[in-house]
Amino acid sequence: MITQNAPALIPVLYLVAAMIIPMVDYFRSGLSYFIALLASISIFGISLMGLQEVITNGPISYHLAGWMPPLGIELVMDSLSAFICVIISASALLVMIYSRTNLVQELPDKTMGFYGLSMLFMGGLAGIALTGDFFNLFVFLEISALASYGLMAIGVKRAPVSAFRYLVLGTAGAIFYLMGVVFIFISTGTLNMADVSNILPHVEYVRPVIAGLVLIILGIIIKMGIFPIHHWLPDAYTDASSTASALIAPIGTKVAAYVLIRVLTIYEFPPLLDILSWIAALSIVAGSVLAIAQPNIKRMLAYSSIANIGYITLGITLANPLAFIGALLHILNHSMMKLVMFMSSGGIYNNMGTLNMARMRGFPLVMPFTALAFIVAVMSMVGIPPTSGFFSKLYLILGAVEAGAWVFVGAILLSTLLGLVYLFRFINIAFFRPYEKYDDRMIIQGESRKLGLNDEDKDAGPKIYETMPRNEMSISMLLPVLIVAVGIILVGVFNGVLIDKVISLAVPDF
């Protein structure tokens, strides 16, 4: 009963929660957290049940309001969308648990707005993952995008400007997407994805189809924040509040990547794949290079997101099963890494009062458990074997080798080395240099010369060594971080099972 209606229940429950939260909060402020948590828990359960059902019995199709597919809107849960849905709902649940304490510290009087918008955002993402209709996808894309602009606008002082920049680009992207859908509609006369993929191979005029595909992909690329059009992403992630960036960063761009999979699998047009894979390779290298120079930890993570979305795109566009498995596994892995990293950087900001990496000395002494989780995420990001990041990179490299694309193998390896540089720069500062009052003062005074750490010999005063008091994140913030860190290792160890049981079912025929 529940499983058969899962495709509709998942987005609708989120949207209903988004509507109930402002109403209830008007009478009893403080209840919005519990509503959001309840909705997230139940939807996570439904997604898991849906995934199980899909794996055993095949795709579930739901016809909204009983209208039959070609004309009515169809929601489809196949193994790919069920997989994405589980990722979305799991990270929503974890961030909801995390948000309790963090929101009180950062945005005490805006909790209702935050929870309402986050439910709306999740509803939009789940809708994108589940819909089987191109135009309905546009609507869900805009629902999630509008909610995310709102979430990003609640933040530090500059946040509205960053959100506005994202808004104009995102809306332009959505219009591009709409224009592309119109072209597809001209050539096929239908909007249903399954119908479109049946009709497209027999279409008489190919040019409108290609124009449509290019427009759609342009729109999606803007939403993905891939290299040439990535300017909105670092600003938006940096200026949003910690919880909002922990909510948006792990899944926002991945869902756009999912749309890319859907679009690319309905019609084969090799030149487009080639161009996209070169863009992806550029994005991998450029994101990693740009991440090196960032003093702000959230900004660095945002640039590394650009590199990682490049991995995912590369895996999709190489168009062979191994690379595709790598891309899907990397969607899961990268969501987990970014969850850990953004949630811990929120904790760091609250407890150490800074996001500047140069001032995070002694971070593992102040927050030992967070540091442990962070190290696991860093290992996964670089790709050290027991963690899951190693395996997704391995599959991507194997896929690139199978495609004979040695340049892309080189790009992945180069980016891994660069990842080592930017992540271990942070590890070096935070873990291997003792916290010194002296340095802190000097950095504060010498704000203009950012890393003036080598000047120690010049004015060698008496150094004041002082350990900061231990100040771990509160349990509700720490728990999700640790769960995901354990998840990273578990996915790494049991990746074979995961690929056999779930991911290999989602790979389309090439």
């Binding site: 004309l71 135009f135 546009f138 609507v139 805009e142 509008l146 602009y149 709102g150 606008a153 530090v156 002082k157 500059r158 509205p160 400007v161 959100a163 506005f164 920049r165 808004l167 104009v168 809306t171 332009a172 959505a174 219009i175 709409l178 224009m179 119109v182 509609f185 001209i186 909007l191 600003d235 940096t238 200026d239 960032q294 003093p295 702000n296 900004r299 900001y349 800074t354 996001l355 500047n356």
Partner: protein, 105 residues
């Protein structure tokens, strides 16, 4: 057939003009207006599809799409205007400056 071509050409022109204005102007309000012009182009294109030569009926699917699209654009515009007002209050100017001075928080 010519009417359809005229509509399509107008729609493409509108779309391109909007895109040009969107890329060129740093002013927030101009950006929002350009986006609306772009969206108008896309909607006009859709509407011109609904009309079939020879048959009196009109295809309802593009029209439903346009209605939904207008709703989406209106909400995006409203939100963008709100943000623009907030930005004006905070920074005193209605411009999207391209250089970011403070990288620290």
């Amino acid at each position: 057939m010519t009417t359809v071509i005229i509509y399509a050409l107008t729609a493409t022109t509108l779309f391109s003009v909007g895109l040009y204005g969107f890329a060129i102007h740093p002013d927030l309000i101009r950006k929002i207006v350009s986006l609306n012009i772009m969206a108008g182009g896309a909607f006009l294109f859709l509407i011109s599809l609904a009309y079939h030569t020879g048959s009196p009926e009109v295809d309802p699917v593009p029209q439903a799409m346009v209605l939904t699209g207008i709703v989406v654009t209106i909400s995006a515009t409203a939100f963008a205007l709100c943000l623009a007002r907030r930005i004006k209050e905070k920074t005193g100017q209605c411009l999207l400056e391209h250089r970011r001075k403070d990288t620290e928080t």
